[in-house]
C-alpha cells in the first residue's frame, strides 16, 4: 500500500509536469511558435524549473482572509485526486485496488473539487474569487449530471461498476464505435468538469482575473494547478476505460497502450482550449440543461431499449 501511495504521488507529479510541458508545446505549435526551448531538450525541464520556483516562493496570506479555510482549500483539492488513482486500471495486473464500485468512487471523489473551489473562492475575501467560486459550483453541478448519465449508458451495457470489467467487455469492439454520441457528450462534459476552456468560466482571466485562485501564490497556487492537470488525466483515463478499450492494443505492452490513449484524449482537450473562445456563463448552463442532459437521457433510453430487445 505504501509503495502504491509513493507510486501514485510520483505519477501525479511527473504526469502534471509532463502535461504542463505538453500543454505549452501544443499551444505553441498551434500558434506557430516553438514554446519553451531553453531548459533541457526542447524545454523538457522547463516545468521542473517552474515547480522549483513555485516551491521557493513566499506563501502570501492576505490580511482579511478566512485563514483556516483559506489554508485548507489547496489541500482539499489535491487529496481526493490521489484517491482516484486507486482504481484506475493501467494494465491487467496494474490496478492498486480493483473495487466493485470503481467508477462510482471516481465520480464521487472528483466532485469534491467543487467544495475546494468554493472554499478557496469564499475564504479569499475577494469579489472576483467569489464570482469564480459561484460560477464553478453551478457549472459543476450542471455538467456532472450528463457526465453520469453517459457513463451510465456504458454501465448498462456492461452490467458492472468495475473498471476492469468494463475493459474486459470491450474485447470485440470498443464502445466508442457503439456509443459515439455518448463519447462526444462525455468529452464535452469532461472538459467542463475539469474547468478547461472553452468552459473555463471559473477562472476566465479576461473577466475574473484568475477566478477562485486569484489570491493564492507560491505552492498553494501550484497545488491548484497540479490538481487541474491531474484531474485532466483522470477524466481522460476514465474516457479510455469507458470508450477506448482501456489497455487493449496490439504488440505494445498494455500499459503503453493505456497511456497512449489517455494522452491522445488529453491532446484533444488541449486542442479545444487553443481553438475556441469562451462561452458566456448563462450560455454554458443552458447548454448543459437544454442540450447535453436531454441528449444524454435519449442516449440512455435508446441504450436500455436496445439491450432489452437484443
Amino acid at each position: 500500500m505504501i509503495v502504491a501511495l509513493i507510486g501514485v504521488i510520483a505519477l501525479v507529479s511527473v504526469n502534471a509536469l509532463f502535461l504542463i510541458w505538453m500543454e505549452r508545446k501544443v499551444a505553441a505549435h498551434i500558434q506557430l511558435r516553438p514554446g519553451p526551448m531553453e531548459v533541457g531538450f526542447h524545454g523538457a525541464l522547463q516545468t521542473v524549473a517552474d515547480a522549483i520556483k513555485l516551491i521557493g516562493k513566499e506563501l502570501i496570506t492576505p490580511e482579511e482572509v478566512d485563514r483556516p479555510i483559506y489554508l485548507l482549500a489547496p489541500i482539499v483539492i489535491f487529496l481526493p485526486v490521489l484517491v482516484l488513482f486507486l482504481v484506475i486500471p493501467f494494465a491487467p495486473n496494474l490496478i492498486i485496488r480493483d473495487l466493485n464500485v470503481g467508477i462510482l468512487l471516481i465520480f464521487a471523489f472528483s466532485s469534491l473539487t467543487v467544495l475546494s473551489i468554493l472554499m478557496a473562492g469564499w475564504s479569499s475575501n475577494n469579489k472576483y474569487s467569489v464570482f469564480g467560486a459561484i460560477r464553478s459550483i453551478a457549472q459543476n453541478i450542471a455538467y456532472e449530471i450528463p457526465l453520469l448519465i453517459t457513463a451510465m449508458s456504458i454501465i448498462l451495457m456492461v452490467g458492472s461498476f468495475k473498471l476492469s470489467a468494463i475493459v474486459a467487455a470491450q474485447d470485440k469492439v470498443w464502445f466508442v464505435v457503439i456509443q459515439p454520441l455518448a463519447f462526444l457528450l462525455y468529452i464535452i462534459c469532461a472538459t467542463a468538469e475539469t474547468n478547461r476552456a472553452p468552459f473555463d468560466i471559473p477562472e476566465a482571466e479576461s473577466e475574473l482575473v484568475a477566478g477562485f485562485h486569484t489570491e493564492y501564490s507560491g505552492m498553494r497556487f501550484g497545488l491548484f494547478f497540479l490538481a487541474e492537470y491531474t484531474n485532466m488525466f483522470v477524466v481522460s483515463a476514465v474516457a479510455t476505460v469507458l470508450f477506448l478499450g482501456g489497455w487493449r492494443g496490439w504488440i505494445l505492452p498494455p500499459v503503453v497502450w493505456f497511456l497512449i490513449k489517455v494522452y491522445a484524449i488529453i491532446f484533444l482537450i488541449m486542442w479545444f482550449r487553443w481553438t475556441f473562445p469562451r462561452l458566456r456563463f448563462d450560455q454554458l448552463i443552458s447548454f448543459a440543461w437544454k442540450v447535453l442532459i436531454p441528449l444524454a437521457f435519449v442516449n440512455l433510453l435508446v441504450t436500455a431499449l436496445a439491450i432489452k430487445l437484443f
Partner: protein
C-alpha cells in the same frame, strides 16, 4: 424540433471547422526566432539613435557645431559644445541622452552639413540611466578604429574667449 437539431449540427460543424484550422497550423513550421540566439537584421532605414557620419573621403565627421540639432530637438536631449579653430567651428562634445529620445528624426533633417544619420542599433539595455547617454564622438572614434585610425584629436581653441557653448535650448 428539426431546427433544434439543425442548429446543433451547424454549431458542431463550425467547431470542427475551427479545429481543422488549428491542426493545420499545428503542423506548419514555426515563424518566430529564438531571440538572443537568432537575430533578425534591421531594415536599412531603421531609426535607432543618431550618430555622426564618417565621411569616406576625410575619415572624419562633418559636424560644424552649429547647434541646429540642439535647437530643433523637441526633448532638448542633444548637447553640443564646439570651439573655433582657424575660423572653423569644430565640436569637442556631441552627447545625446537617448532615454528622452522619441526618434522623430528632426535633428537629422535639419542638419545643414548632413553630418548625422540613424544607427541600426536596437539592442540597447542598461543598468542605470547614465548608460543611455551616448557620446557620439566616442562612437565615431570606435568606428575610426575599425579602419585602423587613431581617435580624433580634440580640437583646441585659439583663445579662451572664443570657446562657445551651443547649449542653447530651442
Amino acid at each position: 424540433m428539426v431546427a433544434y437539431f439543425r442548429e446543433m449540427f451547424v454549431g458542431l460543424w463550425s467547431l470542427v471547422a475551427g479545429m481543422a484550422v488549428t491542426i493545420r497550423y499545428f503542423v506548419r513550421p514555426i515563424v518566430t526566432v529564438q531571440y538572443p540566439r537568432q537575430k533578425l537584421t534591421m531594415t536599412p532605414k531603421y531609426r535607432g539613435h543618431i550618430e555622426l557620419i564618417m565621411d569616406p573621403e576625410t575619415n572624419t565627421h562633418r559636424c560644424t557645431a552649429c547647434g541646429m540639432c540642439v535647437r530643433t530637438c523637441p526633448s532638448s536631449l542633444i548637447t553640443v559644445e564646439g570651439v573655433k579653430v582657424k575660423k572653423k567651428k569644430l565640436p569637442v562634445k556631441h552627447v545625446i541622452d537617448y532615454s528622452y529620445c522619441s526618434l522623430c528624426g528632426l535633428c537629422v533633417e535639419v542638419c545643414p552639413t548632413k553630418a548625422l544619420k540613424f544607427s541600426n542599433e536596437y539592442r540597447l539595455a542598461g543598468y542605470q540611466r547614465q548608460d543611455m547617454v551616448i557620446d557620439l564622438m566616442a562612437r565615431l572614434d570606435a568606428e575610426r578604429a575599425t579602419v585602423g585610425l587613431p581617435p580624433l584629436p580634440i580640437p583646441t581653441p585659439e583663445s579662451e574667449e572664443e570657446t562657445t557653448s551651443a547649449e542653447e535650448k530651442a
